[in-house]
Symmetry: C3
């Protein structure tokens, strides 16, 4: 179940210093690694731990290697970015042991006659696939998933168990959707007549690019008239809500519990910390980074790091500060009054 160091380096690159025939069985953090593991040094502050590691081989940068080489007895794989190399090496080891679901349609799946399922795709137990849906080559649809009418799932995309993917939505290649995610539910659109809500039919789709990951129990609404768009390489964590007609640019990542209201337009290469919220109809340009627990209530037109949450304190201290926050305009008025008095005094003294 392992591999030779040489085989790994042949596949992933990097400069191997040590025995190419050494057998390694997996990857582990510096302090947990055993003698058959590879480990990695992605943070120079951990050099001391690296020297103590029992790992058979270390993934290191050239800068760190100068230091490590002297004191570490194992093999080294010298690479440009040890953390990226670690990710690829971990993928390599996982591929050695992962159980790839067999192609074919489980006997308990309910697949409409007009659906097109590629021969190499795996359709799990209890899956339901409705009319006209298309499942690409090597796609994996886990047990209990629902694929609506005319939905399209691209090549090599994997749905874990119990995903709901509504009618006419589409996702590209090599995507992952985790369990409990719901893609393509109706957006929250109503007209209000005398206090009573009249539903606006949501007839757009959700259109998702390639290499997109969507977390567990995340929800993405279909567009009202136009589509909700998720571009290539977007990574969404669990419990995220994306409203109708949003547009999320390529390679943007959102941590758990983020909410984005309808028609927000978010740029490429952005990041959103956990539970960040974005109001509707805003524009956020490329390379904006919003901190956890922060509410974006206006468009952000300049790249950079933005934050806005109330600092945590002992409850008694918070109560004191919160009372003052509530009355900050009174405090401002007091300062203005003081400034005025001082000014008058000063003028009197000078006159």
């Amino acid at each position: 179940m392992g591999t030779r160091l040489g085989a790994l380096v042949e596949r992933l690159g990097g400069e191997l210093v040590g025995d190419a025939n050494l057998e390694v069985t997996g990857i582990a953090p510096l302090t947990d690694a055993g003698v058959s593991h590879i480990s990695f040094l992605s943070n120079s502050k951990l050099r001391a731990e690296a020297l103590q590691s029992k790992a058979a081989a270390l993934i290191v940068s050239a800068a760190d290697d100068a230091f490590i080489a002297a004191g570490y007895g194992g093999a080294r794989i010298v690479v440009k970015n040890p953390y990226v190399y670690f990710a690829r090496a971990a993928q390599y080891f996982e591929a050695l042991t992962a159980l790839r679901p067999a192609p074919g349609v489980h006997a308990t799946a309910v697949v409409a006659d007009s659906a097109r399922v590629a021969p190499s795709a795996h359709i799990g137990a209890r899956v339901v696939i409705e009319d006209g849906a298309v499942i690409g080559e090597d796609a994996v649809i886990g047990a209990g998933c629902f694929i609506g009418r005319e939905a399209e799932i691209g090549e090599g995309t994997q749905f874990f168990a119990n995903v709901t993917f509504q009618a006419r939505c589409r996702i590209g290649k090599r995507g992952i959707i985790h369990s409990g995610a719901v893609i393509g539910t109706d957006g929250f659109g109503f007209a209000n007549e005398g206090g009573v809500y009249i539903k606006i039919p949501q007839v757009g789709r959700v259109v998702i690019g390639d290499d997109v990951d969507i977390g567990a129990n995340t929800t993405i609404d279909r567009g009202a008239l136009a589509d909700t768009i998720i571009e290539d390489g977007v990574k969404l964590d669990n419990q995220i809500q994306i409203g109708h007609n949003c547009h999320i640019g390529a390679h943007t990542a959102m941590a758990g519990c983020v909410g984005v209201a309808g028609s927000a337009k978010i740029g490429k290469y952005c990041t959103f910390g956990g539970a960040a919220m974005v109001l509707g109809h805003l524009t956020i340009v490329d390379k904006v980074h919003v901190g956890s627990g922060s509410m974006v209530s206006r468009s952000i037109l300049e790249p950079g790091q933005y934050t806005g949450f109330y600092p945590l304190a002992k409850n008694a201290d918070w109560e004191k500060s919160a009372v003052i926050v509530r009355n900050l305009s009174a405090m401002r008025d007091k300062i203005r009054a003081l400034e005025k008095i001082i000014k008058t005094k000063t003028e009197n003294e000078e006159s």
Copy 2:
């Protein structure tokens, strides 16, 4: 797949100015509309776009029509509230093309003998319906839904795929529950004995009125002893959590990610922005509007708009302001000290 303008107006009202025999195929925003579309002008600021629209017909208010009539060559439907009319027209077009699921029980559904399913109801693939449940006429239960023992689903109510509706809960007529929603799970009720939690059985129900929409992955807990109540016309977006024994008044709407803790009593015609939170056992009167990301920590006994979130800033600026917020009482003390000094000085000068 389209309709004549005259047929639309006959059904929905409004004053048609133009050719009643014109064929239209759907509805689209002003700038996207093609020559076979209807569009609508619900915001007078968009008058210029309306004049440029290629739409075959425009839905306009009388006030806007005075302006539009002069410069727009297509037909006009003059109505009181163009946005409400748009919603109804969109429903009209959707009804022309929507695939209404056929009545009957799918062969793979598991329906208890003692359950009563109306003949006109649709029960999808893999649905499970337990003992004594009642499914009303024209109800649609999507694939993979679970309907617990003695639950009741009203006439014309639709569940999308993979809804969980627990024992003894009920929903009225014409409701919609989206995928992944869980209704009637146990409330979070425990007694604590020496640090260890003892579960309090949750034996109430969730009782939902007519015309209620519930979003994807939203959860509503059953009551502990009494019931959790959702009145008529309530609209809940995705990812909302409603605790046990809450009471939500008619025609109240909540945007995504809202949380309401147990036993909160919320009035009618309220609105809650995304990720607003309400603590337990509070009372909120009718017509209260709570902004996104705001925490309601006390009862609100006066209608109006309420807000409370930390304003977003560039991270460096936020760090500065957050440090001061944390120490606002020190700032207040400094101001008091200054006031005292000034007061003493002034008194000295005057004496």
Copy 3:
């Protein structure tokens, strides 16, 4: 369907004052209780309601009983902690009427040959259990659940309908997982190479202790290399997100919508109010209580109550205070300037 008071007290303890042969059918709040109900007085402020209660018997503390005995005609059960006793009595009544699902595997369940299901376990309709999974004695797996490869479910643990429990994860004895919860999804782990995310395989597990309750639509990510750990007696409400490699100490409770980012280490006997958020890689010691809507952005190394949310206000007032919060450093500078002027003046006067 009821019980004799004597039988209840024999089972649960407490001192009965009154007729042991009295038949009671259930438990109800003071004001709702009818003549066949037991009620409870857990808050001395409700003594007046207790005296008016129609309940056949009251659960009271010794302190309250001195007061109640004089004016209340029904039976009393005098106990140390009436609320805990209420919880146990409610469990007792529920057990009398609860429909215990029958042992056995439903005909529509898909159970791998290599899975081991205890004979006393109940496996509901449409359940999927994959290779090598182990289901303990008296476990109840509700309809539509998915149990991944080599997962382990302990004795007496109950999954409500539509739970997803991924490969190799485990939960101990007497646990409850509510509908829509997803346990063991991949953590949100990526290396970033030139703006593009490279997935880090998540090969750890979720390991859950005994007596753990997990709410509806809650998600817990599996560890990246090591495991995510949930210790005994933890209670998680609905819509919670726990990131990969978190460690949550025994008997900690979290209310709805809480989010905990990856690798956070949380102590025992902590509580988290609704929508509280914890950043990644933090440490929180035992007996920390975090208020609702509060963001924990640093480690908490001292037990106590912590809070941090922006106080709600009428929108117009919030707008005023928010503008000032944004510019607090300007206000601080003004105060400093005033202090300096005053200081100079005072020095001048004294010189």
